[in-house]
């Protein structure tokens, strides 16, 4: 077990290091901008004195290295800075209520996005594993080929195409679900679920295809092994061979691919949230990109990257844990 622990600790350390470097990359990228926060806020007619005073207040006169560590320290304490768009002088002098900070803007939207990702995962994971097992069971049949063509098409379609197709059929032609997801606080759970179902279904279509193909490939890979041959010769039914014998050994790659796809969800939400006007972090990110609200962009970027790295890390660790050869070293 000690062996596994060291490997996992190594992975965790590596993940933390990656995060640190990513934060540096984001910070450097943002600092490539011409002009700075103070100039941007005051506009072109600003007097040099005013610019200087804001700079001093925000610590922008410090060298970049100091500012980076200040920013990083703030991020670690949950302080992501102040948004440009909502910036006013009150927020710099420290007299405002705190509603203009990036953290206050992001927090509710982050919860919404997590809700959407959760709903998607709950639909997509069981669905794709079932379909994958079925495709492996009836491989090279009409069902398998139809599934292959459908999944390949839905992987390669842009998310907004799938989104509009779903809107067309499920919201416009057959008004079952609302096409706009106006989520607000204090909403009943069922209503919230109903309103976020269409974006969740779109994301499901995107992710299921990949997960299903990987499940199928992982199981088919195993079917050539001698112990499967043995199970078959014992006279077990094909379904039993796959579910009882092949699936447990295919778990490692499947878990891996699920985590990777959830990581993919993180980027997928951006486009889908924009289509459905879902008040999540992706929507906020795109809006901030358009109005060049750098502190928000920076913070969203960091959150997305963190989620991405964490999920990849989870995939790594889960695949180590699900490998009995590593868990029980000789």
């Amino acid at each position: 077990m000690g062996n596994v622990l060291t490997i996992i600790l190594q992975r965790l350390a590596l993940g933390a290091l990656t995060l640190l470097i990513v934060s540096i990359v984001i910070f450097v990228a943002v600092n490539l901008l011409p002009g700075d926060f103070a100039q941007n806020i005051l506009g072109q007619g600003a007097t040099p004195e005013a610019v200087d005073s804001i700079r001093r207040d925000l610590g922008l006169d410090q060298p970049p290295v100091t500012r980076y560590f200040d920013w990083l320290g703030g991020v670690l304490q949950g302080d992501l800075g102040t948004s440009f768009a909502q910036a006013n002088f009150a927020s710099f002098t420290g007299t405002d209520s705190g509603a203009t900070t990036v953290a206050a803007q992001i927090a509710p939207r982050f919860a919404n996005t997590m809700f959407l990702a959760m709903v998607t995962a709950i639909i997509a994971v069981p669905l794709s594993i079932t379909l994958g097992v079925l495709a492996a069971l009836y491989r090279n049949s009409v069902f398998d080929r139809a599934a292959n063509i459908t999944t390949l098409s839905s992987i390669s379609s842009p998310e907004f195409f799938l989104a509009y197709i779903l809107i067309l059929f499920l919201a416009v032609l057959n008004p079952i679900l609302p096409s706009l997801s106006n989520i607000y606080e204090g909403m009943a759970f069922s209503e919230r679920l109903q309103k976020s179902l269409l974006p969740a279904l779109t994301l499901t279509l995107v992710v299921t295809a990949h997960m299903m193909r990987m499940t199928r490939a992982a199981i088919i890979n195993l079917l050539a092994s001698p112990y499967i041959e043995m199970a078959r010769l014992k006279g077990l039914s094909p379904m039993r061979v796959i579910v009882k014998h092949a699936l447990p050994n295919a778990l490692a790659p499947i878990i891996n691919v699920i985590a990777l796809n959830l990581a993919y969800l993180i980027t997928g939400v951006v486009v889908v949230e924009v289509v459905f006007v879902y008040p999540g972090i992706g929507q906020l990110f795109v809006d901030s990109v358009k109005i060049r609200d750098i502190p928000v962009v920076q913070a969203c970027c960091l959150i997305f990257a963190t989620a991405y790295i964490l999920l990849n890390l989870t995939a790594d660790i889960m695949s180590i844990l699900s490998n009995p050869r590593l868990r029980h070293p000789k």
């Binding site: 990656t18 901008l33 390949l152 390669s156 907004f160 509009y164 032609l173 951006v270 990109v289």
Partner: protein, 398 residues
């Protein structure tokens, strides 16, 4: 929902009856005797789906416009599917009869999906190259004497104009022409970006593989870091910064977008090129070339590159899809290809609202779906071809 479950359960019962009836009628023929229940269920499910599609198609042809409108898109989809299947089949027959011995052999073993892919790619290429010949108007041309904001569909009662089947945009440009020019811009820019990504990633990947040592270490770690940030998010971050710089430097934002996406995507190419290159540099013929005293350029371009073509070509197809989708997504979000260039992603965003009219004016709703569908169709086609190529080169027969 309840009806759906009930239908599934009903089919389960029918499947059992179907198998039982088959066993009894044929006197326990092996086909029915050994049929697993899942297969029987599959037959019933397939029949039901086909019957439902046929029913929906007939509904689409109904006299009552309310019903016909409701099934219009399904009808078009079914017709499109059948037409494409027949076209792909004819194209495969054509490929089998004319051309060189090599191309005839290739077409003989080709699945229908791959021939559909090749046909579609050819059509897109022709459309992109000869866009000015196909488009009735220019992409930036504001047609004199024609109102702006003509609704797509050509239905005069709804504010359409039969001369402009897809309508005009907010300043009076023909949307159909812009759709055709979109092939040139969207596909052309994506293609150029992919080429650039391959040039960057391939060169550095091969260099890292050949030289090894600290160069390899530095490049690989750099790529690791760049790949740790989700590509669309990173692209959006860099585009924000580029959008501030672009007007100051007087360089169009689209150029920045090409560079940014090329750099982000070249990391993936780098990984592959390095891995493939490392397998090649340990070969004897590389050793021989080194002993002959050949230079680095010769090694990379004359020895490694020709032997790495096959995997790189398949990767090129996949990479093109990714780049194409990223650009489409960026444009859809409003930070990609900039106006006045016509582009599909932007068109989907601008015309997206028309989808809501599908209930009573199905033709109006086709405009945004055509633009989005054009993107989807090309990536699906490329993926089909790549799938087939990978299947062929891996010799995978399962």
């Amino acid at each position: 929902m309840i009806w759906f479950v009930a239908a599934l359960l009903g089919m389960a019962a029918i499947a059992w009856v179907f198998r039982f009836a088959g066993q009894t009628v044929t006197g326990n023929a092996p086909r029915f005797r050994d049929m697993p229940y899942g297969v029987a269920y599959g037959y019933v499910l397939g029949t039901v789906v086909v019957l439902w599609l046929a029913w929906a198609y007939m509904q689409g042809l109904s006299e009552d416009t309310a019903i016909a409108n409701k099934f219009f898109f399904l009808r078009i989809a079914i017709e499109g599917f059948i037409i494409f299947a027949i076209a792909a089949w004819l194209f495969r027959i054509l490929g089998r009869t004319i051309g060189t011995a090599w191309s005839r052999k290739m077409f003989r073993s080709m699945p229908l999906t791959a021939s559909f892919g090749i046909l579609t790619i050819l059509i897109y290429a022709i459309l992109a190259i000869f866009a000015p010949a196909f488009a009735p108007y220019g992409q930036e041309q504001i047609i004199p004497g024609v109102a702006a904001n003509i609704v797509p569909g050509g239905d005069v009662a709804l504010g359409g104009n039969p001369d402009f089947p897809l309508g005009t945009d907010q300043i009076g440009r023909d949307i159909m022409s812009r759709l055709i020019y979109g092939a040139q811009n969207t596909v052309g820019i994506a293609f150029a970006t992919t080429l650039l990504a391959f040039l960057l990633g391939g060169t550095f990947g091969f260099l890292a593989a050949t030289l090894g040592g600290w160069l390899d270490q530095i490049l690989s770690r750099l790529v690791d870091v760049l790949m740790a940030i989700p590509s669309l998010i990173f692209a959006l971050l860099l585009m924000t910064i580029a959008s501030v710089w672009a007007p100051q430097l007087g360089i169009p934002l689209t150029v920045f977008m090409v560079l940014i996406i090329a750099v982000i995507d070249s990391t993936r190419v780098f990984r592959l090129a390095r891995a493939v290159g490392q397998n090649i540099v340990v070969m004897d013929y590389i050793e021989a070339a080194k002993l002959r005293g050949e230079g680095l350029g010769y090694l990379v371009f004359k020895e490694i590159l020709p032997n790495a073509t096959a995997p790189l070509l398949a990767e090129f197809g996949l990479r093109f899809c990714f780049v194409f989708l990223t650009i489409a997504a960026l444009s859809f979000l409003g930070v990609g290809i900039q106006p006045p260039l016509a582009d599909w992603g932007t068109m989907v965003r601008d015309l997206g609202g028309f989808v809501n009219y599908a209930q009573f004016a199905p033709l109006a709703a086709t405009a945004p779906l055509l633009a989005a569908g054009a993107i989807a169709l090309l990536t699906v086609a490329v993926n089909f071809v790549v799938d087939w190529m990978l299947h062929k080169s891996s010799g995978l027969k399962e």
